[in-house]
Symmetry: C2
Subunit: 433 residues, 2 copies
Amino acid sequence: MPHDRPPRLLVIGGGFAGLWATRALANAKLRITLVDRRNHHLFQPLLYQVATAGLSAPDIAAPLRHILGKQHNVEVRLGEVEAIDKHRHQVLLRDGTTLDYDLLLVASGATHAYFGNDQWAPHAPGLKSLDDALALRRRLLLAFEKAEAEPDPTKKAAWLSFAIVGGGPTGVELAGTLAEIARHTLRNEFRHIDPASAKVRLVEAGPRVLSSFPEVLSLKARRQLERLGVEVHAGTPVTAIDAGGFHLGERFVPARTVVWAAGVAASPLARTLDTPLDRAGRVQVQPDLTVPGHPEIFVAGDLAALAQADGRPVPGVAPAAKQMGKYVAAMIHTRLQQRAAPPPFRYRDQGNLATIGRMAAIVHMGRLQLSGLLAWWFWLAAHVFFLIGFRNRLVVLLNWAVAYWSYQRGARIIFGDADGGEDPDDGSSPLRK
Amino acid sequence: MPHDRPPRLLVIGGGFAGLWATRALANAKLRITLVDRRNHHLFQPLLYQVATAGLSAPDIAAPLRHILGKQHNVEVRLGEVEAIDKHRHQVLLRDGTTLDYDLLLVASGATHAYFGNDQWAPHAPGLKSLDDALALRRRLLLAFEKAEAEPDPTKKAAWLSFAIVGGGPTGVELAGTLAEIARHTLRNEFRHIDPASAKVRLVEAGPRVLSSFPEVLSLKARRQLERLGVEVHAGTPVTAIDAGGFHLGERFVPARTVVWAAGVAASPLARTLDTPLDRAGRVQVQPDLTVPGHPEIFVAGDLAALAQADGRPVPGVAPAAKQMGKYVAAMIHTRLQQRAAPPPFRYRDQGNLATIGRMAAIVHMGRLQLSGLLAWWFWLAAHVFFLIGFRNRLVVLLNWAVAYWSYQRGARIIFGDADGGEDPDDGSSPLRK
């Protein structure tokens, strides 16, 4: 590599970590390539709104090329990275091309995981990408259609039985919104079912929902969920899932629609780095976010496993990913300028918000604890503020305004033939005894 | 059927004809079932905007259940009709159920047709549904990505070569908008290609584009297209299409992206009616829109073939479909009230609008002929006014306002893995000599 050309930084992943690092290096003497298998940055905190038909997919996504169009030291490359060869300083794309790097940032994030129960995947889809969200929207809306067309009362009830597995923020948001849809949005629209009779169950194996919050807020969240019509089951593990329902401990619960919000695992790309991983497959990084023995390789975002000063892991949330991305950029800046390295990465907890449904949320920031309507306004303002793109903010606000006046959800569109023939299975359940 | 229950009207298709008929019968003593294989009414005149990433799919669609939720004599049934049995007064759905009727309105519309060249379909997709629009959006955006990643200059040029086959309103809109995207929207976003160098060809077999307009407006439309950067080929038929390009008369033109906007044919359901069809497969209806010998079966919208007083066919446009739908409703009203039937259906031409691209359109209404900016404002107002749903109108207006200030298009999101590995073929063209 000739010495007069700037070093090549390859960034894998255009999520919060990769994108924030790239933008913070706008003035650095680097040749940056950002590679992602999707053409857009996704505002994942609102993904559940796309799944529940409150927002359109493009409302919460922005093309990476557009975000970075004016940053002249970056090129965006669409492609899926299959492997990293840290000895040759190369990555291999699925289409066969290789990309060389001098510096590498791996920020390919996480995906949902079934922890050894991959056979549950077809019956309990997860929610990580826009495609997941559209598939889930289709499933949720079709369930009501199937119930409407089904003459058999038992089968009808199974179509009107929904379960969300996992009581973290995504599970809580999905359960709350789904209960609202059943009770309000779909009211008056069916002739052979009462959508409000739908059962929405939220199942959490641990003792309480939203366990990253203080116990009192967790309890308030549970009460808000119940007020919205959600049946909360905490402390009960799901032990089996199939097309017809699931086992809650020993009991079989019929349910044609089960959503998986229980666990994430690191992107499989981490394994090709050949370095110690934690149980969830995340890379155990040094305090400066590099890979042990490879100061030229950084890992940031959901893919990085790192303990905070108090021993607790840095959480897999958007603010942590952004902070890591900016930290990596600062590290690279100091190296380019041959200055002393900054102190080890430290996660600054800016607070914790979770929304539950219509006008219900909880907020925890230092000593501030809010719940209910005020927390919801707080949540709304924070999320709209952090959305990328002026147009997106306007459209999202407008959608929400209309939704909260009218209870209507603007994106209730089922793509693909919405016909009964496509149903992947008949709902017969070997679990049912 | 007991005499004290209202007669059953079955409406097949929730497009303009079916939906307008259903709504006009809100106060009729009928049990109406509206069956459609999609859950939404689609505002087709703006479908090209979804394909070209200007609008999200839900912006131009509204759930049929919601539109008709408060009309208590209607139920909406999601399902695909496979056959009509006019002797048993039944229709058969794909999922095996049958629905009985006393009165039937068949308004299942049209689909794109390749007139005996079905082998062109995979290489030149058409645009009739939201799924078509999303698939086309994906293809158009991926073509620029492929060009960016392709090192070979000849292959790169083929990815930057686009052709629209068919110079009717859809073809003209797509060509104009695509030229705008290449020249403006994508400017500065790529590093290895100049999107503005993309070739956009509009190919029309007939002597001129927009042939339903007076010749002088047609010519103005052509000039506006050329000003936007479109190469217009009129009077030249496309004689072959494959993955690598197409034959324009004798000449082979390399092009990895060809869009079919050339022809429509009636929904295949018409064939199961066992009644005379025209060449495009449409039902030759009586002047009162009934099927000969079956006064209980009406056909309306794109599926109906009917001559106007001057001998020209009623055009396959949204206003004609709405007028037919309302006429059928009026016919049914008079029958229920045992009044005299209204005079035969007469199409009232309210004028003809076509948009071409950024601030360019043509308008023909009686003696009024407009082109350019004024015509474009006219087109915009008319289309936003006729969109169903308050929210949709606001969102669409907002999207357009932002688009026309910034040249940005809010829905530039590629769904699915956007990776190169998925390419269905390698672009090798047996047509190329």
